[in-house]
Symmetry: C2
Subunit: 453 residues, 2 copies
Amino acid sequence: MTTKKFLLQEKDIPTAWYNIVADMKNKPMPILNPKTKQPMKEEDLYPLFSKAVSHQEMNTTDAWIEIPEEVRELYKVWRPTPLVRAAGLEKALDTPAHIYFKNESVSPIGSHKLNSALAQAYYCKQEGVTNITTETGAGQWGAALSYAAKAFGLELAVYMVKVSYHQKPYRRSIMQTFGSQVIASPSMSTKAGRKILTDHPNYQGSLGTAISEAVELAMSTPNCKYTLGSVLNHVMLHQTVIGLEAEKQMEMAGEYPDVVIACFGGGSNFSGIAFPFMRHKLLEGKNLRIVAAEPASCPKLTRGQFQYDFGDEAGYTPLIPMFTLGHNFAPANIHAGGLRYHGAGSIVSQLMKDGMMEAVDVQQLETFEAATLFAQCEGIIPAPESAHAIATAIREAKQAKLEGKPKTILFNLSGHGLIDMAAYDLYLAGDLRNYEVTDEEVKHNLSELEQII
Amino acid sequence: MTTKKFLLQEKDIPTAWYNIVADMKNKPMPILNPKTKQPMKEEDLYPLFSKAVSHQEMNTTDAWIEIPEEVRELYKVWRPTPLVRAAGLEKALDTPAHIYFKNESVSPIGSHKLNSALAQAYYCKQEGVTNITTETGAGQWGAALSYAAKAFGLELAVYMVKVSYHQKPYRRSIMQTFGSQVIASPSMSTKAGRKILTDHPNYQGSLGTAISEAVELAMSTPNCKYTLGSVLNHVMLHQTVIGLEAEKQMEMAGEYPDVVIACFGGGSNFSGIAFPFMRHKLLEGKNLRIVAAEPASCPKLTRGQFQYDFGDEAGYTPLIPMFTLGHNFAPANIHAGGLRYHGAGSIVSQLMKDGMMEAVDVQQLETFEAATLFAQCEGIIPAPESAHAIATAIREAKQAKLEGKPKTILFNLSGHGLIDMAAYDLYLAGDLRNYEVTDEEVKHNLSELEQII
């Protein structure tokens, strides 16, 4: 048997997103105003975000939030995405396990990020917003939002971390082709950028600085809102279309997963595939494992601590209850740029705290070994981020072989790696390496947090 | 209304390829042995190609050739591909025309080339071949064959034109990730390569040289065959899955095309979408237009001449009856590398001669203008090659608007452009240009052919 796809029709695209918070017995703790340390209200978010997503961010009661018809129409450009039986990989591993993956790489920009980008751009347009801003690291989120902004007729300014702006010119070009403004951050266009450039003229940027610039531009521009591609509750919500489709497709395949796996940065693709299955655990006490695969060089879930922390390096955002390595943690320069984030969103952090899920960490070389095998077996070159999920699925499949037991594995292929071939080049040349994080580093960063709250 | 996809299920993947030659009243003229000038027989091709494709190459009687189950199973990795109503583009053009495109860009390697690569690799494997060779320019064909070779357990050596080897490192990395050997051509690994390097140490290569090297390696290696990604009849045959699916999908859409459009290099994606519709013209006298869109800088169909010519620059291949600009024609360095070929395959050339189809030429800047508009409307960044089809579809839609008449347009989106962003960068910066071909150039190249036969 070779690879089999399980395909849905357009009518099967979900009509509502799943808001897991409504079904959680222990709700996530509230986000706090960084000055007053008091819980923030929906209205407190209005200056930064559209009212609709501010409401979604705080919604703890409605389990299902209707997907606007205009967003659902644009989902049809590439959704429903296929569920694929990775029979080639199974054969190569000689495992009794059945391995399935949800293929989010088929989106026009190559990753799952479009699921939330379209929703966020839509709500801004509905509320009369004309301009939006965001930051991007490697560029997956920026590329998705660029298409979404164009689709809804919004002007978009993307602050792209300077080192990526120069290292990943293709992602920058994609954003520009869709018509957005891309600014290398730090830049001279904001106070925050000018200050940093004055102090450190050669600074190559960070996500923290880029967030500061994007927020500042949004706050100082009429009719302008800021958008974010991960971490926040409303982003997780929008991504649940992934798991809701996969639920139906696993039924078509006549199987139910023993384990659901996704890579983990801030939590957007993980939540997308995991929450609809987590629902079966929350409501029916279903026995399945849910595993977040994070880079060993940025191990917030496996080695971080649960406490309030800022969402950005500079400390401008609300305080979020999260598993964190400390907002000053500087992850090694691994090629899975989308996973280089110090904390986990508040919903995932609560679920982790409650023992509803597991996390594992994976070293860079293991991820590229897994990615190369997967490419050769299934024909798709995965994004370095997604390769963390693949490596973890392979571990599970090998374990099944060792135990001689059947097992049904489902993982999310969050994106393809066609724009990350430079990383594969280095891997094939033997020039990639692993990175260790010492306990001292973790402790040092966390100790600085103790005085925040 | 926004974009709508028309999706088929795996069971709808064709079970047979369509061999148009069987239905042509005027068969293509035979290919000739370059030495004896006599028609070649099937057996004459055995040293170079697998017996199965040699037979397909010469088959003038069977209209339907069964697709081997093993190949069809691998087609399931990404086929059937979607047919999409380009409603966003229609709206932007404010046209009464309905525009549909067949989306071949969803293949794992990003283009239609895999349709023939899998078939060719399969037949080689069946006949006990262990090693295969090929040449590639920009790398689309080489990438497709690399995955196909891995899927069937063959060793592959790809001679990649040196200038592309250095300019398109991502495509080279894709091939290497799939496990094939990629050699910059000219190389020291063949007599042909060594001779050229000795005479011209800095020569940056050409498809002609790369073909010579790939053929030489195949001929001098035990159990080794050569493969080609376009021009030849068996390649056209394998690509007809595109049009056979599109036929069903247009029925689902409740429409029939007034015009079918594809870009044109050697003819592989063009034949793929066009031949199944051409069949309606040949057998039922159906009234529809079929249009090949070629680059203005390489206008073999619009300004070339029908006569016998070599398939390669060096003059090693059989003589093919083709519309040609002369095998020494050096096309300008446009970014649609896959269309930089001097001649058209023999079937298309015969159909062109018989007035069964049309050709138009498009300048580079018009193609990038069309590509950018398409990307912004439909979310997919097209390959520079495919942009020729898009530009032609836009011309047709604008004409429909001028005339105030309905029109149904179908074009083939042969691939995405995510690995060609450097070209988009140049376009956005205003650094791309058009290229003119003078009548003198065309005449000069053709005059050299007169003494061949």
